[in-house]
Structures are given as C-alpha cells and as structure tokens.
C-alpha cells in the first residue's frame, strides 16, 4: 500500500474529536513542537545540560542515532519560565476570552465527595507530596498556552499523525494525536501536568469477502486500560459515528479518549500502598459477606463498585461540549502526516517529549514518542497494535466461518482418533480380563495375577478418561455446529462479551451529589485531624472512648451524606458485639465450652427421641 492509498484510507475513517469546554490544547504537528524546543540531557548525578538550543533543533537533528550511559535521560523542553508581567497579562486575557466566548470550564461535583475518608487522606498526602516530588512548575501551563497560541498564529492547524499497519489479517489504522501540553492537574483538578502528550486510537479493517476493506473494531487508548477493555465492535451502539467517522470524547487536559460523553472517575493507586489496599479490600469483602450485603449492581466497573479504599480519585471531564474537530465539524483536520519507522525522529529518538521532572511516580514526567515507552522500550501499541487491543485471538468477520469449520474438523478428527484408541484399548482390556480369570485359583501365578489386576485398573481408568473426552467433544461439536449455523445466517459473535471492565461515566445520581456532600468532603479530613490534635492536647480521662466516639461521629455524618447510614449502623453494632463476645469468651471460656457441649448433647437427645417417636408412630399406623 503506497502513501497515497494509506492517506486515503486514513482520511476515510478519520475520527471526530469532541473536547470539553475550556480545553486549551488541540492536536498539532509534532515537528512544529520539535523546531520550537531545545534538547537536553540529564546524566546520573549531574544537572541537566542543554545539548541543542531551541533555534537549532530540527527533526533531522533529533533523528541522529546516539549512545548514552545507563541512567541517562534525554528530553525536549518547550516551555521556558514566564516573567510575572507575562503571567498576569496572560491570565487577564484568558479571563476576558473565557467571558467573551463562554468558554470557561465548569467544575463538576467534587471528586472527593465520591470516595471515602481513607482516599481523601491519601489524596491530601499526594497533594502535599507534590511540593517535595519533582513536578512541572506552576507557570509552565501558562507558558505552554502562550507558546501554543503563537504556533497557531504562525499557521499551524489541527492535524493528526497517521500510520497504517498490516498484521494477522487486519489492516490497522492508527491515529496519533500530539498535544503540546497536558494541563489536567493545573486547570482541571486532575492527577498530573506534563509537557507534550501522545494519544492514539486504532481502527481495525478487514476484507469483507469482496476484497473491500471495512471497519470491524475500534480501540481508544485511555489511561491504564488495556487489552479487550479498550476495543468496541464497529456496530456497537456505544461507538458514536458521523458517517464512517467515529466520535472521540477527549478528557479535559488529559486528552484520554472515551466512547461516551461524561465525567469519568479515574482512580490512581500508589504502588507503596498496594499491600494495604489488598488487605483492606479483602477485609471489606469478608465483612460484606458476613453481613450478607448484596453485591453492587455494577460490579464490572471498579470505580462504581467502590473501587479501592486507598486509591486517589480524579475526575476526567470528557463532556464534549467544547470545540469539535473532524469532518463536518466546526474545525476540520489538515491533511494527515504519515509516521512510521522510516521517519528518523520516530525511530531514533527514545527520549522524553518535554521536561524530565524526575517524579518518582512518573506522572509529571513527559511521555516518550509514539514508538517508545518512557524507559526507551518499544510500545506494544506500536509493534503489536492487534494484540494491544486483545484482537490477536479474534478472527476477522469474513474468516470466522472458515475458522469455525476448521476447528470443527479438528475436533471431529480428534474424536475419531479417540474412538479408535478406545476400541484398541477395550480389546486389550478384555484380553487382560480373560487372562486374570484364567489365573484365578493358581497360587504359583499370584504375582502375575496381581500385576494383571493392576493393569486392568489402569487401562480401565484410561478408557474412562477417553470416553469422557469423547462425550465432551460431542457437546463441543454440537455447539460449534450451532455457532456455524448462526454465522451462516449472517450472525456475529456477542457484541460486548469481551469487555471485563467497561469505563463508564459517573451515573447522574453520583454526578449531581448534594452541595452539602461536597462541602463536607472538602472540610471533613481537616476537621477530623484538628479534632484529634485537640483531643490529644486536652487528653481527657477516657481517651480511647473519645477517639472511637469522634471517629464514629464522623463516620455517621459521612454515611448520612452518602446514604449508607443503615449499613454503617449495622456494621458498627456488629463490630462492637464481636468485641464484647470476645471479652465474654475470654472471661468464661470453659463455661462457654461446657454450654456448647450441653447444648450439643441436648440437641442429639432431642433428635434421637424425635426419630424414636416417629418410628413408633409409623409402627402403630
């Protein structure tokens, strides 16, 4: 497939991206970013050094192969610090523009109102940690916005980078979107800020039987989701389309891609807390089982099922109420730019696209290029886009019938082979049985007789296993036969059976939680911590009971706000009852043992007497 054909194919199915109101950065030409950036190097135990200044860096320079010591990181740097005057001027202009165009972002329901105390405390620590962790400076987003505006004024339009890959019978259209900056944290209360952002979606085409390519699947990259959960079938109603163009709802600032407009609760778990999280989740599950609570209705989505107790919540706003780019939209795409391993900077530059902050959680570090992970290894979405979306096990639609038939033929053959083996082994088994019968009552053949009996047992088990396999194959063949008939009638496989954890927007009742819940979520952790300090300062007579009482009071307020009061009352009372029961058991252990034995004896007596009287009654009748 030559370049013109690839571009034609990319344009035919190019997506429409709907942004959230207030978004400042849109897909642009990555080479324009390179030309406006400087190249830096950070060697272990050294300060970063500038290798190539902004005016001298070109895509060709970046394409030069290089060798570095272990632990060395190269990175691009677009943003330079702003002066206070520039900052103030930009902020004023931004406010005026927002007022004029009603383009300002409106914060949704507080993310903290959707999670519990533990997550709020971890969130607070995470925020405080930002002061100590490596992070992108506060004025970087403003400087990036100014820089982006300048680039746009120079005539750069909205453009995507396209790549066409043929793999395992699929033709994969990859749409790579390069954003100059990710300002999810600084503008939209998200998890991180970083320079540069690469996002990607894939459309999977396959021949439809008449040698024409048609789309069968589409996959959107979205935060840490991977495999089967990323993709949807082309005819899935969740995939919104305008003609042949799928619609992407981009997260505000994060630019993560979603199939449906909405506000997505994304939880980030810190690796250091993983063991605590696992233990807490196990305890919670056991407690729910003990309390006979019904499982959450939407257990498929961890976020809605309560998620992890120590995860930090962030809301990704993908409302789609802002600028829309794509065919038939307010803004159109410029002609796509093809990328591949033939492009030097794609293949040879393994460094970061943007400031290297040395953040231990890596959230504030810039990403690598489209081909690489941050550590310089090749991304799976690049070398295996089919497997990346879990499609490696899925045959294209036109091949399904053939695959099903081939599988049926395989199993039929295996079953015939098994039957043949069963026949042979049955004959042997019968011969052995005759042999054993002939040796019975012959003391001098006792050893061979015992061995023969052992062989009979072994062979009998083998035949039993093969017969079970044959029976299972019969059932399997029936199923395959039915599935083949279904395919021949033009049917297809289940639409969404492959999705294990669908990322769905927060339901309206969550998204519109009360104002009181939001206020409480904002102040509760601070009030709780201050209450503890006051309590320890005054150190009252019954300190433990005061601690428990304060915790209980906060828990009850929280439960009332979140509508889980009954559950909490039940759990609290049960926990105290267990503690009380343990005290009684400790104090009266042998009395309890004696009581249990007497109760058991009484029950046995009662049961026996009942059986006795019942049998006498039936005798009398």
């Amino acid at each position: 497939m030559d370049d013109a054909q690839q571009i034609a194919l990319l344009r035919r199915y190019e997506p429409i991206i709907r942004f959230t109101r207030g978004e400042q950065f849109f897909p642009m030409d990555a080479e324009a970013y390179i030309r406006a950036s400087s190249l830096w190097i950070k060697r272990p135990s050294e300060e970063p050094q500038e290798l190539v200044p902004a005016s001298a860096l070109t895509p060709e320079t970046l394409a030069q192969p290089y060798e570095d010591d272990f632990g060395t990181v190269r990175f691009l740097k677009f943003v330079e610090p702003l002066s206070a005057t520039e900052m103030a001027a930009h902020v004023l202009r931004q406010r005026r523009d927002d007022d004029l165009h009603e383009a300002s972002f409106r914060v949704g329901t507080g993310r903290l109102a959707r999670v519990g105390y533990a997550s709020r405390v971890v969130d607070g620590l995470f925020r405080v940690g930002l002061l100590a962790r490596g992070r992108v400076p506060g004025d970087a987003a403003t400087a990036a916005a100014l820089g982006y505006r300048t680039l746009m004024l120079q005539g750069h339009g909205h453009v995507y980078h396209g790549r066409v890959v043929e793999e395992s019978g699929w033709v994969v259209l990859q749409y790579w979107f390069f954003y100059l900056y990710n300002n999810w944290r600084s503008r939209f209360n998200g998890a991180n800020d970083h320079e540069a952002d690469w996002e990607m979606v894939c459309i999977y085409l396959a021949p439809n039987g008449q040698d024409e390519l048609h789309p069968e699947w589409v996959a959107f990259a979205s935060h840490d989701y991977q495999g089967d959960d990323l993709r949807r079938r082309w005819d899935d109603p969740e995939v919104q389309k305008a003609g042949d163009h799928p619609v992407i709802y981009a997260g505000a600032g994060s630019h993560a891609s979603y199939f449906t407009a909405g506000e997505y609760l994304t939880e980030i778990e810190l690796n250091v807390l993983a063991p605590v999280t696992r233990a807490a989740t196990t305890v919670e599950r056991l407690w729910k089982r003990a309390m006979q609570e019904e499982p959450d209705e939407d257990a498929s989505d961890a976020a809605h099922a309560g998620g992890s107790v120590l995860a930090i919540p962030f809301v990704d706003y993908a409302r789609g109420d802002g600028l829309s780019i794509g065919p038939g939209q307010k803004e159109a795409w410029d002609p796509p730019l093809l990328i591949g391993e033939n492009i030097g900077w794609v293949r040879n530059y393994r460094g970061l696209w943007g400031l290297y902050t040395q953040d231990p959680f890596a959230g504030e570090d810039a990403p690598a290029g489209p081909m690489f992970n941050r550590n310089g290894t090749v991304r799976r979405s690049w070398y295996d886009p089919v497997g990346w979306a879990g499609l490696d096990k899925v045959a294209p639609g036109a091949e399904l019938l053939d695959v099903a038939r081939a599988r049926r033929a395989e199993i039929t053959e295996r079953r015939a082979r098994l039957r043949e083996h069963v026949g042979v082994k049955t004959a042997t088994l019968r011969a052995l049985d005759v042999q054993a019968a002939a040796m019975r009552n012959q003391p001098h053949l006792q050893r061979i007789y015992a061995q023969t009996l052992g062989d009979i047992d072994k062979l009998s088990r083998e035949i039993d296993g093969m017969q079970a396999e044959i029976t299972a194959d019969d059932a399997l063949l029936d199923s395959l036969d039915r599935y083949e008939q279904h395919l021949m009638r033009g049917g297809r496989g289940p639409l969404r059976a492959h999705i294990r954890r669908a990322h769905t927007p927060a339901p309206p009742n969550q998204a519109h939680a009360g104002r009181i819940a939001e206020i409480w979520a904002a102040v509760s952790v601070t009030v709780l911590l201050v209450a503890f300090v006051v309590l320890f300062y005054f150190n009252p007579r019954f300190l433990p009971i005061w601690l428990v009482s304060i915790l209980a009071l906060f828990a009850f307020i929280e439960a009332s706000v979140r509508g889980t009061f009954t559950r909490l009352v039940g759990s609290f009372a049960t926990a105290l009852a267990i503690a009380g029961a343990l005290v009684l058991l400790y104090e009266f252990f042998w009395w309890v043992v004696a009581a249990v034995i007497i109760a058991l004896a009484g029950y046995i007596l009662w049961d026996n007497v009942r059986e006795l009287t019942r049998s006498r009654r039936s005798d009398a009748e």
């Binding site: 433990p544 009971i545 009352v569 009372a573 049960t574 105290l576 009852a577 009380g580 005290v583 009684l584």
Partner: protein, 163 residues
C-alpha cells in the same frame, strides 16, 4: 378433565405467605427484648439507689467514695433505660427509625461496657457479673436485630415480597 392451573393460580405455600406475620413476630421479639433490658436496668438502678442511706444531706451522703460509686452505677443505667423506652415506642410507631435507634443504643451500651471493662481492672467502679450481663444482653439484641428477621423492621423483606 379439568385443566391444570396456570402457575399464577397455584396457591402459595404458607411458609412463603408468612411475611406479615413474621414482621409482627420480629417486632414483638424486639420490643420484648428491649423492655426486658429496660426493666433490668431500672431494677438494678433502683436497687443501687435503695442501698444508699438518704437520711442526711445528699452532698454529705455522696461524699463517701463507696456511696458515690453505687450512685454512679445507678445514674449511668438510667439514661439507657430511658433511651430503651424511647426505642420501644419508636419501634412500635416507626419500625425503621426504631431499628436504627435501638442499634445505636445497644452500641452505646457496649461501648461504655467495653471501656469500663478495659479501664476498671480492679473492679472498683463495677460489679463484674452485672457488667457481663449488660454486655450479653446488648450482644443478643444486636445479633437478633442484624439477622434477616430483625431486619424486617427496616421494611426490606416486605418491599421485596410485594415487589
């Protein structure tokens, strides 16, 4: 030959239809248990108060440490006896509210009993057998109220049955 009844016409077995009766039983058991607890607390409090010789000035009478402890034991029980009575009325008038109140009162009893158990190791403030009886009573009431039968007061089973 008469036609077999369609499933909707088949009368339900009695054990499925007993929901309303069961609710009444649950309510009855809860109220009875709470009343017994109230009576017990009141009796112990009254007995303790009767042990005090109120002949002189109350300030002087309560100045004695032994008398003060006995008085304290009686006074601690009275609020719970009163709250227990409130729970009984709440259960009769608004079972759902009554369930919540009763559970909170039992939790309060257990919380204080555990605190006393852990802090009063020399048995100065309490007589241990009585303390264990308070705990046992609260535990049994909580166990019952948390059981599917006890939770009928919350109205869950009834709604499900009619739904």
């Amino acid at each position: 030959m008469s036609e077999a009844p369609v499933p909707q016409q088949i009368p339900l077995p009695t054990f499925i239809k007993r929901s309303d009766n069961q609710f009444r039983w649950s309510l009855g058991i809860t109220v009875a248990a709470l009343l017994i607890q109230v009576a017990f607390f009141s009796a112990v409090a009254a007995y303790n108060l009767s042990l005090i010789d109120w002949g002189g000035d109350p300030a002087v009478v309560l100045a004695s440490p032994e008398t003060a402890i006995i008085f304290e034991q009686a006074i601690v029980l009275l609020p719970f006896a009163g709250l227990g009575l409130v729970c009984v009325f709440a259960c009769l008038l608004r079972p759902q509210l009554g369930w919540h109140m009763a559970m909170l009162v039992q939790s309060g009893i257990l919380l204080i009993a555990l605190q006393v158990y852990l802090s009063d190791r020399n048995n100065i403030l309490t007589r241990r057998p009585l303390l264990y009886l308070y705990m046992l009573g609260a535990i049994l009431i909580i166990v019952f109220m948390n059981s599917p039968e006890g939770r009928l007061l919350l109205g869950q089973r009834r709604r499900k049955h009619h739904g």
